[in-house]
Subunit: 186 residues, 2 copies
DNA sequence: TTAATCAAAATGAACGTTCATTCATTTTTT
DNA sequence: AAAAAATGAATGAACGTTCATTTTGATTAA
């Protein structure tokens, strides 16, 4: 069994269940079924461990979301597919969402990736630019566009995970991505 | 001088500067210019202190945002004013934003206000319902509507505070609230 | 096949530090 | 001079990290 992976999975599970605040190395070790010292064979320390996990999730996310991208298709089709894939990514592994949110809003906790936080948004940027060039997306500042896409996505996932709405209901995702499209299209 | 208030302000400043992770009682006391023990005269402990601060900010926010509400005016006017006031609230005291974000995404950190997190959204709900009744706001699920309003606001403020956009530029707020309106209006 | 050897992997008790909280004492206010 | 407010050193628990020791598993020798 891959202990490194088991340790990372433990952190993910624990952060989601109890938050960063209650995270400690002993719990991580227990959850992973290894000794406390073992963690230090694979990671420099707590901080390194957390950063490694963040990097892993961001990579997985970008990979998954860009699967949907096809330059041949119209911008709208790419957009719908990207939104749906992003939602699927987080609903399939909700721990990822919780972790990313907590990591993002912990200033100075792990300094390295300060601007890198916006790495997550690169796929969106790509699509936005293309849409503007073709004239199908409104010509408003990038930041506003970004806010109109990323913001609702974040919130709807949050609401879903808090059982305030159900994105798995038939047509729910479609209704959502169409609403976002209406906000950003000309 | 009101020591209780000074202590709360210290927490706000420190959480924004260094994050929850590096927050400790000694620093809070130093920043507030009191002894560590003094904090316990005004609060039961660290947890109580954090919760009190959260409650305070939520109250201030709702008060400020609802200032803009006037039943006599059309829904759109109320909406624009509310959005602008919410933005002003956070730009005027960015520490509030950072604190609320970190508090919201710390599951089980301070259990009390789990569902209460949505208290912040009550003014938005109020307006939404009214707009739907009058037929000026699209008849899509509340959660989706909420996501289309609250999400972009969060993100645009985040982008502003990260210097990725400038909401103080002439017309910036207007452009933003109009874009959001386009997303939610019929 | 069995025994011996050794490096790599893993362990978890121990260490030093940090931190929230307490409380005997001092300072301030009434 | 009594009460209330404030202090900050002391306390003990919790935590991240280390490291001497043990276990594992592959390799070699008999």
């Amino acid at each position: 069994m891959d202990k490194k992976q088991a340790i990372l999975k433990s952190v993910l599970k624990l952060v989601n269940r109890e938050g960063f605040y209650h995270l400690n190395m002993k719990k991580i070790a227990q959850e992973a079924g290894v000794a406390a010292g073992t963690i230090y064979l694979y990671f420099k320390g707590k901080e390194d461990l957390i950063n490694a996990l963040y990097g892993m999730i961001v990579n997985e996310f970008n990979l998954k979301v860009l699967e949907g991208y096809d330059d041949g298709k119209p911008v709208q089709a790419n957009f719908f597919r990207m939104i749906d894939l992003a939602i699927d990514f987080y609903l399939g592994e909700p721990d990822n969402f919780s972790f990313i949110e907590q990591y993002t809003y912990a200033p100075f906790l792990f300094k390295e990736n300060q601007d890198e936080n916006f790495t997550l948004l690169l796929p969106i940027y790509k699509m936005m630019r293309e849409g503007k060039k073709q004239g199908v997306i409104r010509n408003i500042p990038d930041a506003v566009l970004l806010a109109l896409i990323h913001g609702p996505m974040n919130t709807i996932i949050k609401l879903h995970l808090a059982h305030k709405t159900d994105l798995n209901k038939k047509g729910a995702k479609q209704k959502f991505h169409e609403a976002v499209w209406q906000a950003i299209s000309v």
